[in-house]
């Protein structure tokens, strides 16, 4: 790969997916794109770049973009974002939405589905107290391929052992050869669609909870700011935003404020400005 090829690919990936590569990530490009080069019978990365430059080669462009995105995910990843869901967000929203009984959740980088399915399992575990409530969980991702895997809900033995309690495996999965398949009742709680966060996503409507974890880290500063500000516009005033452990809004936008000692949890700024110190009481107060 020549330096010019590398520069072209960096520019291409930045424009397509927002992925920012520093000037020493040639190995990453090689390891992720060589399988495509081989599969297509090309001579090397340089030929791939030449093909990408031909206008209209959308199929190849998507393949390259998707191959470069990181799709690692596991059930209940990092644990605390799911504790926040059970302990902070749900109690508050169950009060605040008591009349409407409808809560919308967006997993903005759903990858292979572990995050939205983890939320769905938590809701299922709560059982009768959610009777009559409607939960909409929307999972989006840049990559159609990973969303196909999410929709299939089929995971390897390794994947179901990182973070998923064994009792939940027994309860919500069936074994199919060396794969574990999530139950139809959990699968039907999540809807997926392909979405590039660089594009306008306002058509998704308003959400009470947005999980946008481990995706901003790949973006440059202006892109982070833009995505956060557009996310703020579709987050309910008393809603929540979850970011990954290595991410923050601090120094990027005033649209969200961190929630006390709840790591990774943010609320729209106007809400944070209100006087009540406790979130549960605060959301309850809004209804009354």
């Amino acid at each position: 790969m020549t330096p010019l090829d590398y520069d072209y690919l960096r520019g291409f990936l930045k424009a397509r997916s927002g992925l920012v590569l520093s000037n020493d990530k040639q190995y990453l490009i090689e390891s992720r794109l060589m399988p495509i080069v081989r599969k297509q019978g090309m001579a090397g990365i340089s030929e791939l770049v030449q093909k990408l430059k031909v206008p209209g080669n959308e199929a190849l462009a998507s393949k390259v973009t998707e191959a470069m995105t990181t799709n690692e995910s596991f059930f209940f990843r990092d644990k605390t974002p799911f504790d926040h869901f059970k302990e902070v967000m749900l109690p508050a929203l169950l009060k605040a939405r008591a009349a409407r009984r409808h809560i919308r959740i967006w997993c903005a980088a759903a990858s292979t589905g572990q995050e939205p399915y983890s939320l769905a399992m938590i809701l299922k575990e709560m059982g009768p107290q959610l009777a009559g409530w409607r939960f909409e969980i929307i999972g989006t991702d840049l990559s159609g391929d990973v969303l196909d895997r999410a929709k299939a809900g089929s995971y390897t033995q390794f994947e179901v052992q990182r973070g998923l309690p064994i009792q939940m495996l027994l309860k919500y999965f069936t074994q199919n050869g060396d794969q574990w398949v999530i139950s139809p009742e959990i699968r039907s709680m999540v809807h997926y669609r392909t979405l590039n966060l660089l594009n306008d996503f306002s058509a998704l409507g308003q959400f009470d909870i947005v999980y946008c974890r481990n995706v901003l880290i790949y973006f440059d500063q202006p892109t982070k700011i833009d995505v956060l500000n557009r996310t703020a516009r579709l987050t309910a005033a008393d809603g929540y935003l979850l970011l990954g452990a290595a991410e923050t809004v601090v120094g990027l936008t005033d649209a969200f404020k961190p929630v006390g000692d709840r790591r990774g949890l943010y609320v729209p700024a106007e809400k944070a400005a209100q006087p009540a110190p406790k979130l549960v009481a605060l959301a309850g107060g809004r209804v009354a």
């Binding site: 052992q161 064994i166 009792q167 027994l170 069936t174 074994q175």
Partner: protein, 121 residues
Amino acid sequence: MKTCLVVDDSSVIRKVARRILEGMGFQIEEAEDGKKALEFCYGTMPEAILLDWNMPVMDGYEFLRELRKLPGGQAPKVVFCTTENDVAHIARAMHAGANEYIMKPFDKDIVEAKFAEVGLI
């Protein structure tokens, strides 16, 4: 320092498990079958037990049932770690009082996730 009793008839598995668990801050004791593990527990109850299923003399399932009958035998957190990876085995183990279940092959991430799940770390 918490003690973890590693019960497996394979010395290789015991060595791998020891390395992972020592890295997580556990003091390790080893037993090569259920009977030797039980004898250890008569003396001292460990905080954690990583337990293989298929072993000579006394298998892991039988060990677990005996352990849970002992005075203080409810205390240790027992994590099965076995090649038995079907629903029937897992359900049987949980019913007999296992706290978590690892299907071999395993790695450090899985052991950490499972030990965290039962509150050992």
